[in-house]
């Protein structure tokens, strides 16, 4: 019952999303989420928000694994991160929070699924009113629509990114790196044995009025091109309507093997001046 009530609160917040005035993390936003099962039997994506005095935290997890293991992993990831976040009044070090929360989620998933194969790509975004922090394990697209342009924030823990970084560090040749550019498999995810460092932003993104945060799992990001997504987001629709439109557009592609797709949008309506 308690879990259902908590879920109810979360969904409610996902629609209304308004902090009490005068509280830390002051700023207002409008959030919306939408999902599609794609061509899969089970919806193994989880997309949820929690809003408290510290700000708003959105988590999108894309579970993988046979039967309902994926779903379980995604649910565990989301619950672990959001449960840890909920009691905060002020989140001083979001990067540290992300690191510990993701580790905890990873270990809980491992303990829960045991020998079964499975895991979750998870992305989390935290807005404290003036800044944006994000963290990522695996591949979740996180981007920011600003001045009509969709700016990518997350790079993804995929092999192509890893290769590009390795080339920059001089570990591999340019040619090797270029050959790896087509390889988009993930090399890290929650529930993986030997979990690696998560991806976080090099520094927090200073928000501007009208910024729109976009999070999507593979079912959306692989179906819709960057340009198509951008076109829907700049059309100025209300946030929930835009999220629905994105899902409808992804479904309209009718790809034979469309993955579960989820999208989270958070529109920054007013922001607090940075301290």
């Amino acid at each position: 019952m308690a879990g259902l009530a908590a879920l109810g609160i979360r969904m409610y917040l996902s629609v209304t999303g308004k902090p009490e005035p005068g509280e830390p993390g002051e700023g207002s936003w409008e959030a919306g989420t939408a999902q599609t099962r794609g061509k899969r039997e089970i919806q193994a994506d989880q997309a949820q928000f929690v809003e408290n005095r510290a700000g708003i935290m959105a988590v999108l997890a894309d579970g993988t694994g046979t039967r309902n293991t994926g779903r379980l992993c995604a649910q565990l990831a989301v619950d672990t991160i959001l449960d840890r976040y909920e009691p905060y009044h002020v989140l001083h070090n979001p990067d540290y929070f992300f690191k510990t929360a993701f580790y905890e989620a990873n270990s809980r998933i491992q303990k829960t699924i045991g020998e079964r194969r499975g895991g979750a790509n998870a992305g989390a975004v935290f807005l404290d009113g003036s800044r944006l922090f994000y963290a990522l394990a695996g591949s979740i697209r996180i981007a920011l629509l600003r001045h009509g342009e969709l700016i990518p924030l997350s790079r993804g823990q995929t092999l192509d990114v890893l290769a590009a970084d390795a080339w920059k560090e001089g570990k591999i040749t340019r040619q090797d790196a270029i050959w790896s550019m087509e390889e988009t498999r993930v090399w890290n995810y929650l529930g993986m044995d030997g979990f690696h460092e998560i991806e976080t932003g090099s520094q927090p993104v200073r928000l501007k009025d009208g910024d729109l945060v976009f999070m999507a799992s593979r079912g959306v990001s692989e179906e819709l091109s960057w340009r198509e997504t951008e076109d829907i987001l700049v059309s100025g629709l209300p946030v929930q309507e835009a999220a629905d439109r994105i899902i409808r557009a992804a479904e309209a592609k009718a790809a034979p093997d469309q993955d579960n797709g989820s999208v989270i949008l958070i529109k920054v309506k007013t922001r607090m001046e940075p301290i």
Binding site: R146, E149, I151, W167, S202, V205, R206, W226, R227
Partner: protein, 609 residues
Amino acid sequence: MRRINSEFKTAHVSEEGRQLSNRDYFGYVEMDDFACYVLADSLDAEPSVNSAKLVVESIIRDFTEAPSLGKRRLHRYIHRAHTELARQKSGMYLKASAVVAVTDYRKIRYAHAGNSRFYLVRSARILARTEDQSLTQNLLEAERIPLDQAAAHEERNNLYSFLGGRGMPEIRVSRKQKLESGDIFTLLTRGVWEQCPDREFLDIINSADSPEETVNQTEDFILKKQETEDIDNYTLAVTFVNKTFQPPDKPWTLKRVLTVAIPVLLLAGGLGLGLYMRHRNILRQETALADCMDSGEAYLRYDNYQKAADEYKEAKTLADGLKRTEEAAEAGRYQKLAEQIILADEAMGAGDYQKAQKLYLTAKELSSAAGNMGRSYIEDQLKQTRDYTEVFDLIALGEKKEEYGNLEGAAASYKAAKEKAASIYYGEGKAEALEKQAKAEEELEKSRLEDAARRKEQEDAAAAEVAKQQAESEAGRELENQQKANDQQNAIELENKGNELLAQGQYESAVTFYQTAQAIYIRLELPEQADGINGKIAAARAGKQAEEAAAAAAQEAARRESAGDAEGEAEAVVQEGRTGTEEGADAAGPPRTESYGPGSSVQFVPPAP
């Protein structure tokens, strides 16, 4: 052909820098008569497509199809590249910055959109260059704070105009610039100008002898920084104009002479024709002006003011066109005069004579300013307005009189107005006056008849009053007479009663009745009857005295009885008393009755106590 007679040497370098892939692109084509150099820099992060390459290929293709140095053509080349980028639907929106230089080996024209640059270097300094289409404010801000991912992205594409994307680029095309031998022009992307400032770049250009050397030295300069800085893709193209195309001197052939002479002759002919036409037109206008002035004057003389106004208006237009101020002013004056008279005539026609009079007066002033033209007409009209006003005044006077009830005076005024109107052949006024006069006279007649009727009525009333008074007096008289008759009857009855009493020997009461009757007779002014009663009263008094004397004699007799001789005397006295009474009764006469006609009644009035 020009290319052979000129010497343009180009060298270029395009490298990825510290990036994984090179998304800059440079291409050029040198044709016989024209050459085109295109440099582009991809601004998007789409890994699958090189936008810069698309742009360069598009522009070079369009240029080779229709080479030109024209401004619009150059603009079109770049705009088509923009549409080509925008047409690519997959992946991200493609965006690129581009700079293009086209030359015919003598002159050069360049165009750009975004922040790729073109420099034209002459005599060791930059003679011409493109301006970046950057939002500089953001750059300044970026210097102060470390850039987060979004801000760094914004800064990198910190342009308000570029090819591709959702908007329209602002393509800037330069003017044509003449090239000189020894000029150097260069195209470079952000990767170059960011790392190699203009001053250093100019030093390198000035010190180098060939384009290759310039390119190599610049690249060395950039690569020196790669240890410390994240070098972007860099592309540089340098062209040394060692010799521009000089057209060879040719002898003056007939064809060449004709080529020059025919346009000159045509121009001179055209000019001459133009001047002649102008002169002819002026002459025609002058004639028309004179005609208009003359006919205007004629119309004024014949009092046709509408036509005169039209003619003078046209004359004024012509004079203005010919810049003949004097004629224009004169025509203006006459026009005004004619229009004023037309206006006054209209007012007159509308029956507003006061207004017409004012307008005619103004027209009179205008006429004196315009050589007394039409003055007699104006005066005639003024006189007419005066007369008309007079008629109206008379009518108004009549109305006033009528209002105060002086109908005769009103009729007279109307008559005067009618006569005046008749004398000035003013039918309308006459008809009005006549009508009013007739009405006034009718009213007068009516009032006369009413007076007569009233008088008659008064007379009748007076007569009736007199008759009534007469009747009243007669009735009064009759009543009085009747009263008198009654009174007289009463008096008679009283008198008779007195007579009866006298006869009975009641002398005292008889006297009272007699006196009452006498008083009535006196009041009824019947002196004879009153006097007649006097005797009766005297008889009654005598009777009384006789009675008293008899009583005294009786007393004396009684005493004489006692004395003896007193009897005879007492009888004598009683006898004497009886005689007196009989005489009184005779004098009173028999009781009188008088008849007062049939139906008259006799009332008895009892005597006063």
